[in-house]
Symmetry: C2
Subunit: 124 residues, 2 copies
Amino acid sequence: MSHDAAALESFVKRYLDTVAGGSAAEVAALYADDATLEDPVGSGEVHIGRQAIEGFYKNLTAAGAEITTELLKFRPGGHEAAFLFAIVVGGAMRIEPIEIMTFDAEGKITSMKAYWTAADITQL
Amino acid sequence: MSHDAAALESFVKRYLDTVAGGSAAEVAALYADDATLEDPVGSGEVHIGRQAIEGFYKNLTAAGAEITTELLKFRPGGHEAAFLFAIVVGGAMRIEPIEIMTFDAEGKITSMKAYWTAADITQL
């Protein structure tokens, strides 16, 4: 189930591009059926399954604000990746989370954990 | 078992300071008895228990080279932390891993996963 570094980076870039330019359904389609999502870690809420995950991304895009993303640091390992990225919402708010993702043999995301707090938000 | 952001950051800084200035036994003492360590993620080797973990840090410090560390990005969440840091070994080699740590109620490290590859090493 291991992937090489280039493949893992392509999965992460596809994810960030889809978050920026795609619908909630398109982002959710990158996840495995039984995937889990915790964002932010420590919130006490884990979204389980693609339907719940699509609901999470619907909330993110509900306001209709333009979203841009940028990969800042990328660290692959086995079937996992850790990365620091920037997400800018509506040109007004920039957040820099660290995320951990695991992938199945087909490159679908099996788990995502996002580490960030209000202290990591910059008003632009 | 949740810790506030300042406490989590103090645990991580204590760890990085001890890696830089302490013995393998002192670093291992920051871990819980039954902690796990995977460094790098994808190596297929997970060190389980404080004794195995001390062995891992002994290998790191065996050459007697001076080690310095610097916390670059820190993201807390619940009883976990994600961080990007730099480690310089013998003034000759700089690595910038992303690590994920979990902590117990006393602030002992219960798991550590380090994400980096040869591509993240800079010869100085």
